[in-house]
C-alpha cells in the first residue's frame, strides 16, 4: 500500500457488539480429495486447517474483528492456487508484452502458475503466457484472429473476450456457449473485432479466483481512421486491480464457491498493471492517452491525476458523442474509459484513487486516498506539443448519427424490467443482526469494505444475489428471455434499496452493445455505447440494447462474487427466420 494516506478510523462501536449474541460456528464441509486437477486444500498444508483458519482478515485501522464473529470461519474449504508447491520452481511472472496481430493471425494463449513478488512477498499466482497482465493484444478493427487457449492451471477455465461483439461460439461462457476447459485441455476461439476501442479478456470460471490471481489482459482495437482520437504523445493502458493480503500471505479463496459473497473480495493492495507502484516518466506538456480498465473483483474506482487536466474521450465500446472535461474517472468492475491527460507542469503528479468510505461504527464518512503511482514530469518540453488540440473538446457526429437510429426508442415503455435484490440463508446471526441495524443510510456505491470480517464469512452457499424479472417473477437462470436479432430492447433495471444488504451492481451484457438512456428518469445527454453499466443502490436505469448479434448471451453482475452467487441470466437473441431477408 505504497503512498497510502488512509485516515484512521477510531473508536469502534463496542457498545452495539455487547448486545449481539455470539453465533455458533459455521458448519464446515468435508474436505475434498487432492488430485492432479484438484489440488490439495489448505488444511493439508502445515499451519492451515479448514476448521481453524489461522489467518485473520485484515481490517481497517481501528476497527477490530467484532466479538460476535470471533471464532467463525466461512463454510468453505480454504484454497490458494499452487498451495504447497515450491515457489522457487515456478517461473517469475513477466510484464505484459504487446502482441500485434493482423487479420487471420493466430495466438497461443496459455494459462499457467507463475511466481509473483508483490510488496516484498512472493506468491504463487496465475498468468497468461507467463505474463501479468496477459499479452496486450493489438489488432486493427474488423480483424478476425484465432486464439488457441491452453489451460495449464489447477482449475477449469475459459476465456471471455469482454465487450467484443463476436461469434457466440467463442464467447467463453461455460454452461452457455462451451464446457469449461479442464486443466490440461485446450480450446480454440475465433474472435472478430467489429468496434474500435479498449477491451479485455478474463476467465469466466471462478472469476473470483482466477481473475484476482492474475488472469486478465487488454485488447486494443485500432480504428483505420488515424484521427479517431485526438493526437497524443503516447498511449498507456492501465489495468486497475486489487489483491487481498494479510502480512505476507494471500487470503485464501473458497474451494467450493466464493467467500466474501456479500460485498465481493475488496483488496487492500491496489495494483496498476499487476504492480503496486505505477511509474511513468513524461516531458512537460505531454498529452498521454490513458486506456483505463477495471479488472478488480468488486472495487469501483474514482481515479484522477493530482488535478492535472483530463479530457474524457471514450467508454466501453465507442467514443462519446462529445468529449468532456472531467476531474476524475469512475470505473465499476469491467468498465473502460479512455481519457487524455496533459502534464503541463514539471514535477511529480500522483495517480490517486479517492473515495469516501463510511465508518458504520461511528456513522461518519472517512476520506480515503490511495496513491497508485507517480507520473514524473521532466522540465524539458515535449515535441510535438499537442496543447492546442488538447484544449479543444471535439464532437463526433458519426457517433450521434449511429445513435440517431435508436432515439425513437428512448421514450417508449420498457420491454423488460429487472429488479436487483438479495436472498440469504443461514448467515451468522451476528452478521444478520449487525446488518439489520446498519440500514440507517443506503450508500449508492460502497467504495471500500468497512466490514471485511463479516463479508468474509458470507459464502455463495448463504448468499444468492438476484436478477428478478418483474413481469414473470423468474430469477437468474430461470429467466427465459428471447428476442429477435435486429430488435431493440429497452431494459429497465431497478436496484432495490430495501434489500437486506443493497449494493451497487455493474451489469454486463455479453456480445451486444447498449446505451444508458436515462438514470432515475433523467435522460442522458452525451451517449456512448456500453457493455457494462453501473446500477447504484436505489437507482432506476434504462438501457437500450441493440440486440443485433444472434446467440445465447450472459447478462450478469460483474462483481465476481455476485456472479458466483447466482446473479446471472441469459438473453437469447434468436437468429432471423429463414426468408426474412436478414
Amino acid at each position: 500500500m505504497t503512498g497510502r494516506a488512509r485516515a484512521m478510523w477510531t473508536e469502534p462501536l463496542a457498545a452495539v457488539l455487547l448486545l449481539l449474541p455470539v453465533a455458533s460456528p459455521a458448519q464446515q464441509p468435508s474436505a475434498p480429495h487432492a488430485s492432479p486437477t484438484n489440488p490439495a486444500p489448505m488444511h493439508d498444508m502445515p499451519g492451515m486447517s479448514e476448521h481453524a483458519m489461522v489467518m485473520p482478515i485484515p481490517m481497517p485501522a481501528g476497527m477490530p474483528m467484532m466479538p460476535g464473529l470471533v471464532g467463525l470461519a466461512p463454510g468453505v474449504t480454504p484454497f490458494l492456487p499452487g498451495a504447497g508447491l515450491d515457489l522457487a520452481r515456478l517461473p517469475a511472472a513477466k510484464a505484459s508484452a504487446v502482441v500485434r496481430l493482423k487479420n487471420g493471425d493466430t495466438l497461443d494463449l496459455t494459462a499457467t502458475l507463475v511466481r509473483r513478488a508483490i510488496a516484498g512477498h512472493a506468491f504463487a499466482m496465475y498468468g497468461y503466457n507467463g505474463e501479468v497482465p496477459g499479452p496486450l493484444i493489438r489488432v486493427p478493427r474488423n480483424a478476425t484472429i484465432v486464439v488457441r487457449f491452453h489451460n495449464r492451471i489447477d482449475l477449469p477455465s475459459a476465456v471471455h473476450w469482454h465487450g467484443v461483439r463476436l461469434d457466440n461460439r467463442s464467447d467463453g461462457a461455460p454452461g452457455v456457449t462451451q464446457e469449461p476447459v479442464a486443466p490440461g485441455a485446450d480450446f480454440i476461439y475465433r474472435i472478430h473485432f467489429p468496434d474500435a476501442g479498449i477491451y479485455w479478456y478474463h476467465p469466466h470460471v471462478r472469476e473470483d479466483v482466477e481473475q484476482a490471481m492474475g488472469l486478465y489482459g487488454a485488447m486494443l482495437v485500432d480504428s483505420p481512421d488515424s484521427d479517431y482520437y485526438p493526437p497524443a504523445n503516447r498511449d498507456a493502458v492501465l489495468m486497475l486491480g486489487d489483491l487481498l493480503v494479510n502480512a505476507d500471505s494471500l487470503i485464501p479463496f473458497g474451494r467450493e464457491g466464493p467467500d466474501f459473497a456479500l460485498m465481493g473480495r475488496v483488496g487492500n493492495v491496489l495494483l496498476v498493471n499487476g504492480e503496486p507502484d505505477y511509474a511513468l516518466h513524461v516531458r512537460r506538456g505531454e498529452v498521454v492517452r490513458f486506456q483505463l480498465v477495471n479488472v478488480s473483483s468488486s472495487r469501483t474506482w474514482n481515479v484522477s491525476f493530482g488535478g492535472a487536466p483530463m479530457k474524457l474521450l471514450a467508454g466501453d465500446q465507442s467514443r462519446f458523442e462529445r468529449e468532456e472535461r472531467v476531474m476524475s474517472v469512475v470505473l465499476a468492475p469491467a468498465e473502460r474509459y479512455v481519457v487524455e491527460v496533459r502534464f503541463d507542469r514539471a514535477g511529480r503528479v500522483p495517480l490517486v484513487n479517492a473515495v469516501q468510505a463510511i465508518n458504520h461504527y461511528q456513522g461518519e464518512f472517512v476520506p480515503e486516498v490511495d496513491t497508485l503511482g507517480m507520473v514524473t514530469v521532466d522540465a524539458a518540453p515535449v515535441a510535438p506539443d499537442y496543447g492546442r488540440a488538447f484544449s479543444t473538446l471535439g464532437a463526433h457526429p458519426d457517433v450521434s448519427r449511429d445513435i440517431d437510429r435508436y432515439r425513437g426508442y428512448f421514450d417508449r415503455p420498457p420491454d423488460k424490467r429487472l429488479t436487483l435484490a438479495l436472498a440469504t440463508t443461514a448467515l451468522p446471526l451476528a452478521t444478520v443482526q449487525f446488518m439489520s441495524i446498519d440500514t440507517a443510510y443506503y450508500a449508492p456505491v460502497e467504495w471500500v469494505d468497512g466490514m471485511p470480517d463479516m463479508n468474509w464469512l458470507s459464502t455463495s452457499k448463504q448468499v444468492r444475489w438476484v436478477l428478478r424479472d418483474d413481469v414473470t417473477g423468474k430469477e437468474n437462470m430461470d429467466i427465459d428471455w428471447h428476442v429477435s436479432a435486429g430488435s431493440v430492447v429497452k431494459l429497465r433495471i431497478f436496484n432495490d434499496p430495501t434489500s437486506f444488504h443493497p449494493m451497487q451492481h455493474p451489469i454486463h451484457l455479453h456480445g451486444q452493445r447498449m446505451l444508458v438512456v436515462a438514470r432515475d428518469g433523467v435522460p442522458s445527454t452525451n451517449l456512448v455505447w456500453k457493455d457494462t453499466a453501473l446500477i447504484p443502490v436505489g437507482a432506476t436505469v434504462d438501457l437500450l440494447i441493440d440486440a443485433s448479434n444472434p446467440g445465447a448471451w450472459m447478462l450478469h453482475c460483474h462483481i465476481a462474487e455476485h456472479l458466483g452467487s447466482g446473479m446471472m441470466a441469459v438473453l437469447h437473441v434468436d437468429p432471423p427466420a429463414q426468408g426474412s431477408g436478414r
Partner: protein, 168 residues
Amino acid sequence: MRLALAAAVLLAAAPLPAAHSGSTLSDAAGPYDIALFSTPTAPAARGHARLVYAPSPFGVAVTADGRARYDVQITASALPAPSTLGAFSSYVAWEVTPDLSRWTRLGVVAKGTSTVGPAELNKFLLVITAEADSMPAAHAGPTVLHGTSPSGWLQSFLTHPLFRGVAP
C-alpha cells in the same frame, strides 16, 4: 459500560428509512428523499426534495475526492409570496453544513418542482430562505423550509463528547 450500553440503545433505536417513509417523513418515498419541515415564518408551507445524480458521463456523479454530487429536486407548496414576509423577492435553497457554518447557494425555488444544485457535501441540511435577491452573496432572510440529507441519518450520538468520556 453504562455509557456504552446507552450508546447501543440510542443507535439501535435510531429511526430506519422504512419507518421514515410511512411516518414522520410522510412526503418522502425513498432513500434519497428529504422531507422538508416548515418554520413559524411560513407555517403552512410544505415540501419535499429528492436527490438525483448530477449530470455525469459515469454511472454516478462524484467529486474528485469521492463525494457524491446530487441535483436536488425540490417540490414546495403553500409558500406565501416572498414579499409578504418582508423585503424579499425570491426563495433560495442552500446546502448547509450540519454545524451551520457554511452555506452554499444551490438555486432558486419556484412554484412546483425546482431542480437546484449540485449538492456536494457528505451530510448537509437543505434550507430554503426568503431573500431580497435571487443571487444573494450570503443568506440573510428567514428560513421557511428545512430538512436533512439522508446521509445525515448516519449521525451517531457516539461521536458526542458524552460518550467519549469527556465532560460536556
